[in-house]
């Protein structure tokens, strides 16, 4: 960093400078045409973010840049994106200092994303064609990262994976002589017995073979009843962690999903109400055993959810300008995040099922508590995502969100050998004071040209903070390695904490 700091400019220069370079395929060194290159000035630098595509020779150029500090990154479909100056794929990029009239040349080498491949084989080691294979991140519960279909040799390959541990699992397989249950590599029906494959950049992780295990499928049948006259065309959807399947009922309201593997499911029904009066819906979480299930679903108008926002003294808070976020959560994972749209009275209609709500980034409030509708802090703290259960039916559902107008701020200077570290990544995690486990997501920022960082809108609690170029998204263990500092933050506190940039020895 010293080298850069010598060139650091305290204000924007009048004379233009340039960053140019070449994007290549890391494995072969071949030029990468039409890669997207982005230059992003650090806080405190002049200029705006700019982007360009590399030419057929892989070359790019940003002429006419004001002097300052920049982060440079490159991306192309099928490749893992890189930031200039990364030590490893998991490290953060380092900023470059551009002098007045200066020119910086750089090479950006893009590795291919990781891939997991293997074969789906029968009892004689003969490949099974046309079998769907899901690849999950090795989390609990596992999250789907991609899927593929086996070819004539039973070979599958799921690409576009970031490095890490993955689990491969076949979908239900029906054949003339039997039924095979969804099976993890290598040959376990339960996630506990699954063997993970480690994906790495620029190579295929091979031999994630699966031998599907024979078993018994069952039937989930039932009837949807609706208020008023019988209606055809009710869509019934059965969701599991393997995805979803839908059916449309006839006038009798009956549905039947055959060939369902035992396990946990969500079952939804939805239909248009008569006279265009909105939507009717139903939802039930179900556990399906070996003998299947007979389900009865009652359609009802979409439940009305009444949100009320109060501060810690019980006074009503005008939420109209606050970025409240919501997303559907079912067994196949969280849905798309959207802004929560409420009417003037604070009401909204949501499809029955599980939902999550959170307050988006704001420096003026933090969430103290969410209550009602079985709310619980799904990320460990109310300041993160809070799950609510929107039960079907006509009963109004009340959700109260308690907000504090006194969020805290954490700020400071990151030093590197006694000098301010410009553009250094700073990571902050909330932790459970009892177990030390991370609560909610990781927050990240970068220091400005002056080496200063700041996190605003923080709830009180225990946190750990570290600054390092060595990681892009450190997990709790990496935070510990990076010498993360514990910090207790009180309500409304303005905590100053200077940090030393951590460099891997």
């Amino acid at each position: 960093m010293f080298k850069y700091l010598l060139f650091a400019l305290t204000c924007g220069a009048l004379q233009a400078a340039a960053i140019r370079g070449r994007v290549v395929e890391k494995q072969t060194g071949h030029p990468l045409a039409r890669a997207l290159v982005v230059v992003h000035p650090l806080d405190g630098s002049n200029g705006a973010t700019a982007s360009a595509r590399s030419n057929p020779n892989g070359s790019f150029e940003f002429p006419g840049l004001p002097a300052g500090w920049y982060l440079v990154s490159a991306a192309k479909t099928g490749f893992a994106g890189v930031e200039y100056g990364q030590k490893r794929w998991s490290s953060a990029g380092t900023p470059v200092a551009l002098e007045e009239s200066g020119e910086i040349e750089m090479n950006l080498a893009l590795p291919h994303s990781g891939a997991v491949s293997g074969r789906v084989i029968d009892e004689n080691d003969v490949g099974i064609p046309n079998c769907t294979v899901f690849v999950y991140r090795n989390t609990r519960p596992p999250e789907v990262a991609g899927q593929a279909t086996t070819d004539d040799r039973g070979v599958y390959r799921v690409s576009g994976l970031s490095p890490g541990a993955y689990l491969a699992r076949t979908a239900i397989l029906n054949s003339a002589i039997g039924v095979y249950l969804p099976t993890f590599a290598r040959d376990s029906v339960t996630v506990g017995g699954a063997i993970a494959s480690e994906a790495a950049l620029d190579r295929d992780t091979l031999y994630a073979d699966v031998r599907p295990m024979a078993g018994r499928l069952t039937t989930v049948a039932g009837r949807v009843s609706s208020p008023g006259p019988a209606r055809a065309s009710v869509t019934v959807t059965l969701v599991s962690d393997m995805g979803s399947q839908s059916q449309t009922t006839g006038l009798d309201g009956r549905f039947a999903f055959d060939r369902v593997a035992p396990g946990a499911y969500d079952i939804y029904a939805q239909a248009a109400a008569a006279n265009s009066a909105g939507t009717l819906a139903a939802w039930r979480p179900i556990e399906i055993g070996a003998n299947g299930a007979d389900i009865s679903l009652d359609l009802a108008p979409l439940p009305s959810v009444q949100f009320s926002f109060v501060d810690t003294s019980g006074k009503r808070v005008d939420s109209s300008g606050l970025p409240f976020l919501t997303r559907r959560k079912d067994l196949s994972g969280p849905g798309k995040t959207e802004y929560l749209r409420l009417d003037a009275g604070g009401q909204t209609r949501l499809d029955p099922g599980r939902w999550e709500v959170a307050l988006g980034p704001t420096a003026s409030w933090y969430v103290v508590r969410v209550s009602g509708a079985g709310a619980h802090a799904s990320s460990g703290t109310a300041a993160g995502w809070n799950e609510i259960a929107v039960a079907p039916g006509n009963a109004a559902i009340a959700v109260e969100v308690v907000l504090s107008p006194h969020p805290a701020t954490l700020r400071g200077l990151v030093g590197d050998g006694g000098q301010p570290a410009s553009g250094a990544p700073v990571y902050l995690e909330a932790i459970d004071p009892g177990s030390g486990i991370r609560w909610g997501g990781l927050r990240a920022t970068r220091t400005g040209v002056d080496g200063r960082y700041s996190f605003a809108g923080l709830a009180p609690g225990m946190y750990r903070v570290a600054s390092t170029f060595e990681y892009q998204a450190p997990d709790a263990a990496a935070m510990s390695r990076a010498g993360a500092r514990d910090v207790r933050i009180e309500e409304g506190g303005k905590v100053d904490l200077d940090l030393d940039l951590w460099v891997m020895p």
Partner: protein
């Protein structure tokens, strides 16, 4: 053949035998489970046709089996159908003979179809992700046999290919704002400069890389009338794109060339007779075509008339099966059944082929369509071209005086060839092409064969164990005999079994 003929039983025995065996992979010798095995008695011998599926050890068993002569075959997904006793992958099987109380154990080896692999590469030899690659048979008319999509290294793998020569072509694609024109491997836009690639059983033919040239692709877009979701298909020689649109539509950019655009929409209220409306147009694309207007009009059902010559039977009782398939620049579509003897049929606008399958004792002797007169070639008993314009009528004439052909097949040892495949194709000597599908029968226990229900015209006939379903060129090379059938007189033609030298 001698050995079998010596064992041949003149009549079905009452004593039961057993035919069992295993089906294994040619490549690695692994047992193949879930293969279907068919046991087919040679005519005049044995019992009825039976099927069984191999168990997890690859084993099958037919028991009890009446004594007799049988053809045994096996099929399995992505494996080449296997016929017990065949010389090569595309030869017919030889019959096996079982006597009363015999126990016969067979081993059937199955081959995997061939595959072709390679990469689609940009100007810097970097693989292009998500590029569609097509395999064509090196024959005219061009027909797409297999498709694949490249992975993140630009790799593709086309599989399920019967042995033979293929052309590999990358489709048009826009990547990061750059258009790639369709290209035959290794990088030509012209078919005659394309690399010929042999697909081989149990193997991948590797290294068939394609370097597509960059070039201008064109937009095809416009508006379609009618509020209902309209299904629009744009067909060119590299395939079809089908989209659903209400009002404005836009296809993925296409390479320059000739295209067909057809559209259909459900219109039960406005078009009561057919329930659909449609449109068809054909045009060259040599620039962006963003102002297309597709006007749907009601499809009027096409009337189908059947006239029967030389028969007192009314046409209504005949109920001949009518089949149709759409034909466009991308090739022949799926065959759909239009029922038995329909008086009307609904054809969405565009080019179609229709075929009438007469009942036993009748043949199709005439075809006429109001929209463009006579159809394909001169033989109404094959596929007949039909230009659907949303209205029109079709006439078929049938004759009760069908021809037949029979005879005996003699082997190289001058003895009757039992269970030998006999192939018959309706043949147009002018264009030297086959009309309709190949017909196959097996000779019976005394080497006799018979085809019936034949329309008048020219045929070629061949008896051989060397091929399964020979194409017209193979029929020619194997010395197929040409026969002209006139009227309903039965033809007798004895054949020598063809054996490759």
């Amino acid at each position: 053949m001698n050995r079998w003929l010596a064992l041949l039983l003149a009549a079905v025995s009452l004593h039961a035998a057993v035919i069992r065996g295993t089906v294994v992979n040619q490549e690695g010798g692994e047992a193949l489970s879930q293969a279907w095995v068919m046991l087919q008695a040679v005519s005049g011998s044995g019992g009825a046709t039976r099927t069984a599926q191999t168990d997890s050890f690859g084993m099958f068993a037919f028991s009890p089996v009446p004594a007799g002569a049988y053809l045994v075959s096996a099929t399995r997904q992505y494996s080449v159908p296997a016929y017990y006793g065949q010389k090569r992958w595309n030869s017919a099987g030889m019959p096996v003979v079982v006597e009363a109380n015999d126990s016969l154990t067979l081993s059937i080896r199955m081959h995997r179809f061939g595959a072709i692999t390679g990469r689609v590469l940009d100007e810097n030899d970097v693989g292009i992700l998500g590029h569609e690659v097509l395999a064509y048979r090196d024959a005219k008319p061009v027909q797409i046999i297999a498709r694949a999509t490249t992975d993140d290294y630009g790799r593709y793998r086309l599989f399920g290919l019967a042995p033979g020569t293929y052309l590999v072509r990358s489709a048009a694609k826009t990547v990061d704002g750059v258009g790639y024109l369709p290209a035959f491997a290794p990088g030509s836009q012209e078919m005659d400069q394309a690399r010929r690639v042999d697909a081989v059983l149990d193997q991948d033919s590797t290294g068939i890389d394609v370097h597509p040239a960059q070039g201008r692709l064109f937009e095809v877009a416009g508006v379609v009338s009618g509020g209902a979701p309209v299904e629009l298909t744009l067909a060119g020689e590299t395939g079809r794109q089908t989209i659903s649109a209400s009002g404005a539509f836009r296809f993925n950019p296409v390479a320059p060339g000739q295209y067909e655009l057809y559209a259909t929409a459900p219109s039960p209220a406005n078009c009561r007779a057919s329930g659909i409306s449609g449109a068809y147009t054909s045009f060259p694309v040599d620039r962006d075509m963003t102002g297309l207007t597709v006007a749907l009009s009601c499809v009027v059902p096409t009337s189908i008339t059947y006239s029967v010559e030389r028969s007192a039977t009314g046409r209504n009782s005949l109920n001949p099966a009518l089949r149709a398939r759409r034909v466009d620049l991308a090739g022949v579509g799926d065959t759909v059944s239009l029922g038995n003897g329909p008086a009307y049929a609904v054809f969405a606008p565009g080019q179609w082929e229709i075929q009438l399958q007469p009942p036993a004792g009748y043949s199709v002797t005439g075809y006429y369509q109001s929209n463009s007169g006579l159809g394909l070639g001169s033989r109404p008993d094959g596929w007949n071209a039909f230009t659907a314009r949303g209205y029109g009528s079709v006439w078929f004439s049938l004759s009760s005086g069908t021809g037949s052909m029979r005879g005996a097949v003699t082997g190289t040892d001058r003895e009757a060839a039992m269970g030998a495949p006999v192939y018959l194709e309706a043949y147009d000597p002018k264009s030297k092409t086959r009309i309709g599908e190949l017909r196959t029968v097996q000779t019976g226990a005394h080497g006799a064969y018979q085809f019936s229900g034949l329309a008048p015209g020219v045929y070629r006939v061949l008896a051989t164990f060397e091929y399964v379903g020979p194409d017209t060129a193979t029929m020619e090379l194997s010395g197929a005999r040409t026969v002209s059938l006139v009227g309903s007189d039965p033809q007798t033609l004895d054949l020598d079994l063809f054996v490759l030298p």
